[in-house]
Amino acid sequence: MSEALATMPAATSTPPRRTGILGDRIFFWIVTACGLIVLTALLAAAASMLWGGLLAFHTFGFGFITGMEWDPVAGHFAGLVPIYGTLVTSALAMIIGVPVSLGIAVFITEVAPRAIRGAVGGAIELLAGIPSIIYGMWGLFTFAPFMSDYVQPILIDWLGPIPLIGALFSGAPLGIGMLTSGIVLAVMIIPFISSVMRDVFLVVPPQLKESAYALGSTKWEVVRDIVIPHTRTAVVGGIFLGLGRALGETMAVTFVLGNTHNIAISLMEPGTSIAATLANEFAEASDDLYRSSLTALGLILFVVTFIVLAAAKVMLVRMARQRGE
C-alpha cells in the first residue's frame, strides 16, 4: 500500500475546485465520525455496564466475586457460582475442542487429498454459521438424552471408582450439566480455532517442510517439529479466540447447563454460567439491586473476554507481521 496516498493533498486550491475541497473535507469528517462510533461503542459498553453494576459493587464490595450466595428474595447477591460455571465449561470446551481443532487443521492441510480439502474446510466452517440457539435446542432435545443414556453411565461406571478423578464423574446421569455444556461449547468453537490454524499452516514456507522431509522426517514429525513451532504464535492466538467465544456463549449453555446456582465437583451436576444467568434472570429482575448485580456479572464477563480477545488479536497480528516481512 502506498503511503504517499495518505499524505497526498486533497486537491490544489485553484478556484474551480473549491467545491471539491469542501466536499472532501465534509466526506473526511463523516467517515472519521463513523470510525469513531465503532471506537466509542466498546468504551460506551464498558462504561454503561460499570455504571449499571456500581450499586452491586458498592453494596457487596469484593465479596461479590468470592461469595456463593445468590438469593433474589433476600436481596443478597454474590457471583462465584456463575463465574465458576463459566470457567469450568470453558475449560472443558478447550480441553476437548483444541485437540480436535488441531486434528482437523492438520487433516485439511497435510492429509486430505487436494480435491476434498475445500469441501471439508467449508463443511467445518458451516458449523460456525449455525445460530447458537440451534446448538442449544439440539443439545437439550437430542444430545443431552444421548449423554444420559449412553455416555454418562459408562463414565460413571468406569471412572467413578477411581479415587481422585472419580469425584468428577460421580452422581446421576442427568444428561444436562457441566460436561454436556462443555462438549456443546467445544463443537461451537471448533470451526473458529481450526480455521485460524488451517490458514496459518497453509503459509508455512514449503522449503522448511521440504528440508525436513529430505532429512527423512515422517509427515507427523514435520507437523510437530516444523509446522506447529513455526506458527505457534498464531495457533495460540486462534485458541484464545475460541476461548473468548466459549466464555461468552449464551444460548447453547443456557439450554444444557441446567440453571441451578450450585457448585459441585462432579461434572455431571447442573450449574449455571454468567451468560446463562443473565439470559434467564435479567428480563425478570424486579429491583435495582438484583438488576445491578446481574449487570456487574456482565461487566466481569466483558472484562475477561476483552482481555482474552485482545491477547488473541495481538498474537495474530504479530504472526501476520512476521509473515509480511
Binding site: 465503532v38 445460530p131 447458537s132 440451534i134
Partner: protein, 285 residues
Amino acid sequence: MASSSTSLYRRRQLGSLIALTLCGIATVLGLVFLIWIIWTTLLHGLAALSPALITEMTPPPGEDGGGLANAFMGSLLMVFLAVVIGTPIGVLAGTFLSEFSRGKKLGEAIRFVNDILLSAPSIIIGLFVYELIVRPTGRFSGFAGGIALAFIFVPVVVRTTDEMLRLVPDVMREAALSLGIPRWKVTVNVLYRSASTGILTGILLAIARISGETAPLLFTALNNQYWSLDMTQPMANIPVVIFQFAMSPYEQWQNLAWAGAFVMTAFVLILSVVSRSFLNRKGGK
C-alpha cells in the same frame, strides 16, 4: 545395526500413521456433529412445518394450533432497522479504515476494537443497549432490539468493507485522482463501484449473522404475544420465541419452536453459504 535402524524407522512411520489417523478421526467427528445438528433440525422442523406458521399468531400456552406470524414480522422489522442503521455506519467506517487512516494510530486502534466487537459476547450488547435505551425510555421496545442487532451488524460490515476496498489496486485511485477528481468522488464513484460485490456480500453475511442472534434481544425487544408493528413496544421475534417455546413443557410450543428453528437455520445457512461463495470468487479469503 541395519535391522535396528529399520525398526526405528518403522516405529516412526507407525507413530506418524497413528497421529494422522487421529487427525482424520477428529475431522470425521466434526463432520458427524455438523450432520447430526442439521439432521435434528431438519427432522423436527419439517414435521412441524405448516402454512399456519406464517398466517397465525403465537398461541397461548397449552393450546393447539397457532403459528409464528407475529414473530417473523417482528424479526423482519428489527433486522431491517439494524440494516438501515448499520449499513451506512459500517461502510463509512470501513472506508475510513481503508482510505483515510493508512499508517495512522487511530486506524489501528479502530481496527483492533472492531475485531474485538466482532467476537465479543452478544449478551453484553444486550446489557449495553438495555442501559442505553430500555432504562432511559422505561420500556422494552422493537427499536431497542433493532439497535442491539445493529451493534452486531456494524463490525461485520466494517471488516469486509475495509478488506474489499484494500483489494482495489492503488493504480485506480491514482488514475482517478490525477484527473483532478475530488477524493470523495473517487471513493464513491470508483472505489465503491469496483468493490460493490464484496461490500454487498459483507452486508449479506452480516444479515445472516444477526438473523440468528438471540441473546441481545432477550432484554431489549423482549417478546409480544400479539401482532404488533409498533417499534416503540415490546416486539415478538423468532429467536426469543424459539427460546421461550423450546424451554416450555407444552408440546405444541416445542413443535412451533422446531419449525421456527428450521426456517431460521435454513435462511441463515443458505444466506451465508451463498455470500461466502461470492466472497471467495472475488479473491480475498
